[in-house]
């Protein structure tokens, strides 16, 4: 029963103990963080197994909702919590030389704990708190490199994130004003009568923009290229891969539970389309691998926004499939960019020194573009087929934009690939990839390739996730059993 709580509490607690442990035994300090994440991942996995088809709500401290704080646990939430934990574990910050520094470890643990909290929490206020906690952890991590560029990027990120959080807070206030509660289940109950109006829509706009900052939503994503270009590749991978999806999860929950009105969907669709257009075009022009990948990630997030902007369970399935693929492919690409970062021009002939990495890069690019039989093809196909079914003509534009984006993607990613294979006598061949990065990227790549053979089972699993996630009645009755559907 308390397992899910441990997912949040354990990393947070350890984060605050870590400086002390470092002081006492540096080696133990170094090992504690990953160890705790392994433990929490195992807890998460067992929870996922226990849960089966159920959903459950945990009232913290025994106070029943809507008064008390509650966690809502379904497969989707647990899957995201697990993704955060595993992602942080895989992308654990590098130990920096002889001078032991507990800060990156602590911040990463805070990120993991707060991320789990974000995924699991069942009321809006806690969502906000955990969101801020995630934000604080990432500020620290981004600035952690200490270079001027990193600090500038971090400040920019801080400003826009701060504004975003303020907007979200105003949105929450509006909702509270309209309904008098912040418990999501209770809100879902009240939404049709209280939030289906201008005030509700205004609240959604504020929340969307607020949480959209981390989900790389156009146009509050201007921090993305700078931060991704300056932060360490593991952190970038974590931000692009995992944190952005967490914010997306919140937006999805809000959309499904509180704001089923078509105007809300329309707004998201428009911003999603603009995200794809701006991201892919900017990526096409980018001459620096980190920025290129950053822009492309904006484009991919745009696809997810477009997918979630459609009503119904099939749309959620499609969006989740794209998100899952991006969660695996993008971090791997960013990991490769650790050594290959900087100007694409400078990559001439890099395949000579690191043939495996070059092949991996091709594989990941193909998958990102959506070439069959790679998993992303099936994900994009789901999105497209769902888009083609919609009556609103703007959705057709969405489909066209996604595909034009894929064509651009093929162009710029393979421009990089052809650089890798074209040695230039005038400049030195880049150094070979380092093993830790390559191994991590390789692992993610292997997962992608393996998933080609289990597309249908994955699809079934995601279908169940989407089923649960789209079921508002179930959410309400799980948290508040008095209400019978």
């Amino acid at each position: 029963m308390n397992g899910p709580v441990l997912l949040i509490v354990l990393p947070l607690l350890t984060a605050f103990l870590l400086p002390i442990i470092y002081r006492l035994m540096p080696l133990a300090g170094r090992l504690t963080g990953p160890l705790i994440l392994v433990v929490t991942s195992i807890i998460g996995l067992t929870q996922l197994q226990h849960l089966g088809d159920d959903t459950l709500a945990i009232a913290m401290g025994g106070f029943p909702p809507p008064l008390g704080i509650s966690l809502y646990i379904d497969r989707l939430a647990l899957a995201f919590a697990l993704a955060v934990t595993l992602g942080t574990l895989l992308l654990w910050p590098k130990a920096s030389g002889d001078n032991p520094d507990s800060r990156p470890g602590s911040l990463s643990l805070i990120l993991a704990g707060a991320g789990c909290g974000l995924a699991l929490s069942g009321d809006l206020f806690n969502v906000y708190v955990f969101y801020e906690l995630v934000a604080v952890a990432t500020y620290g991590l981004v600035a952690g490199r200490g270079t001027t560029a990193a600090c500038t990027a971090s400040v920019r990120y801080l400003i826009i994130s701060g504004f975003g959080a303020a907007m979200a807070l105003i949105g929450i206030a509006l909702i509270y004003n309209a309904t008098g509660t912040l418990n999501l289940a209770h809100l879902a109950e009240l939404a049709p009568s209280r939030l289906n109006n201008g005030q509700g829509l205004a609240a959604f706009v504020l929340l969307l923009i607020g949480f959209g900052v981390k989900a790389e939503l156009f146009p509050v994503n201007t921090w993305v290229p700078e931060v991704y270009a300056t932060a360490s590749s593991r952190l970038t991978a974590l931000l692009a891969g995992v944190v952005s999806k967490l914010a997306l999860l919140i937006v999805l929950r809000l959309l499904v539970l509180l704001f089923p009105q078509p105007e809300a969907h329309l707004l998201m669709l428009v911003l999603g389309i603009l995200g794809v257009v701006s991201g892919e075009l900017a990526a096409w022009r980018a001459r620096d691998l980190n920025r290129l990948l950053a822009y492309s990630s904006i484009g991919q997030l745009g696809i997810m926004f477009i997918a979630f902007s459609m009503p119904g369970q099939a749309a959620i399935l499609a969006g989740l499939a794209v998100a899952l693929h991006h969660l695996i492919a993008k971090p791997a690409l960013f990991l490769l960019a650790e050594r290959w970062g900087g100007s694409v021009q400078g990559l001439s002939g890099a395949a000579e020194n690191s043939p495996v990495a070059a092949v991996l890069f091709i594989l990941l690019s193909l998958s990102l573009i959506g070439v069959p039989p790679f998993p992303s093809f099936w994900a994009k196909l789901l999105v497209l087929l769902e888009l083609a079914r919609q009556a609103q003509p703007l959705y057709f534009l969405g489909a066209a934009v996604i595909l034009a984006g894929a064509a651009l993607e093929a162009n710029y990613l393979f421009r990089v690939v052809s650089r890798l294979y074209t040695p230039d006598a005038a400049q030195p061949v880049p150094e070979p990839q380092r093993l830790p990065e390559l191994a991590r990227a390789g692992m993610l790549g292997a997962v992608l390739v393996a998933s080609i053979f289990v597309i249908s089972p994955i699809n079934n699993q995601l279908e169940q996730l989407a089923d649960q996630a789209s079921d508002t009645q179930r959410y309400i009755s799980t948290v508040n059993p008095r209400v019978t559907p």
Binding site: V220, L267, S278, R285, Y421
Partner: protein
Amino acid sequence: MTPLDLLLLIAAFTVVVMLVSGQLRSIAGENAVALYAAQGLALLPMAGLGYGTVAEVPASISIPIMQHTLHWRFDGLSWFFALITIGAALLSSWFTAGEWAEKFRARGGSMRLFHSTLALNVFSMLLLLASGDLLSLFIGWELVSWASFLMMGLAGGQALRYAMRYLSYAIAGAMAVLVGLAMVYSQTGSFDYAALAAAVPHMSNNQIWLLLLLFTAGFGVKMAMIPLHLWQAKAYAETPGPGAAFLGAISSRMGLFAIIVVVLQLIGFARLLDLSIPFTLLNARDLLAWIAVFTIIFPTFTALRQHDARRLLAWHGIGQGGYMLIGILSMDALGSAGGLMHIFNHATYQAMLFMSVTAVLHRTGTSDLNQLGGLVVRMPLSFLAMLVGIIGLAGLPPMNGFVSKWMIYRSLMDDGSPLLFIGAVIGTLGTILSVYKLIHNTFLGQLRTEHVEIEEAPSSMLIPMMILAAIVFLTGYFPGVVLDWVAAAQAAIGLPPLTHTLGGVPEINGGLDMIWVVSILLAGFGIGALIFFSGNRHQRIHQLDNYAGGHFLSADVRYQYSDNFYPGLMHLIGPWYRASFQWLERGFLSLLETLSTLMQGGYRAAHPAFYLLAVMVLSLAWVVWL
């Protein structure tokens, strides 16, 4: 296990074998030839498809994926295309088995990569040809696109740049197809061919127009239909020789195959005629036919201006695709048979021409038409191959190209489309002029001093060329052999099959019997040769033993120039070359560049919070307005 399973298995096995052993000097080429021969043999149990006795051979494997099922099957059309594909691969890999591979390796190429790429191309093409629903068609399509990208980019450097250009076109095309598929799915709820065919009558004309645009443009990229043709010539020309022979023979025909299956067979000939273009007397079929005619004319005359033999051939490859399309679009038995037969004919002579040019390149190190000449005395058999090839390409008797073009012309005239006919003839005129330039500048005229010591191409190159020459001649002599397969393919796509004889086409008002035509031609030549060789006193002298105006011409005096060929003609038609399509392409690219610079500028803005507030205010204003 069905015969189709066996074929696909062998093709997949070929890829694996080549990946494992493609670098072995002694046996890789021979292995490849043997494996392609095995694939060819695997076609035999399905020969019923080629003769119309069996309608369809299914594959026993079908893959359920999500809510769709992928399945594969062969029909007469697939069998016909598969035969050409495997034949082209067999002879191309034979061509590599020997000196060519040595030289390729010496220049830093990887034969393992070459062989496995070729095998991958064949495998993906067979998958495409076998596709039994729209989804497997799309998957096959994408695989073929990427496999041919690999083949084009193999040589690196410049070739990779052209391959990238191809990729941009191909992926854009594939995405157009995908939009079309999504539209079809939203209408029918399934990817089955039958479902689309059944839904077409219920779709509005606008929907059909949109589908037509998406599918023809998407698939048309691969067959380099105007105005999507710019990538092809350079990309094919830079492909390593045998690879170019293979791609030139069959790769771009995959686009035609997909157009036949989806646009002509599923959307249907009848529906095309129904779609009229407002304010003109044209319908959708006429529009396509005119595109086909311009696809003949523009590239052919562009070929005339090329001075690299490989580019010249590659440009012709584009133009000949137009003949095939226009033939099939005629929709009657004669014209469509001509179009389909032209696919086979073109594959045979185009592969041979590329091989011959590659042989010259192999020996002399250049394919620049201004740097060659007079090689007939050094490389007579390569000359013979090119001669047979260009007669075929120009569509003159006695080679097979004549038969298919005759059928196409005949049906255009019978159809009452004189303008299309004139367009096609203009194209042929350009073809004849430019192939003459090709053979003249390569093999005729003055031998250059640096080429005096050149030897004939090695047997590994000559044998496949001679096999192809024999095929080109014999299928010209007995076109009925090919027409059997063509008739089965016609039946498979719902066209009336052509009634034919071994020698050609019986028609009430003037048919064609190639056995007679060729026999008389040969008899004429024979009599001429008899008179020439018996009655005439002649003496062989060395080419360099030459006089002009009473002066002895030493070997270094150039008395015969090959550059600036056809100056008079170029003076006349030169101003017509405007490079409008390149201008269009550049315009599009700079538009893209501008847009993306704008977008990037947006992300670079120094005041990020401004956007946030702006979008907030705008959205709230929108909410209030609602």
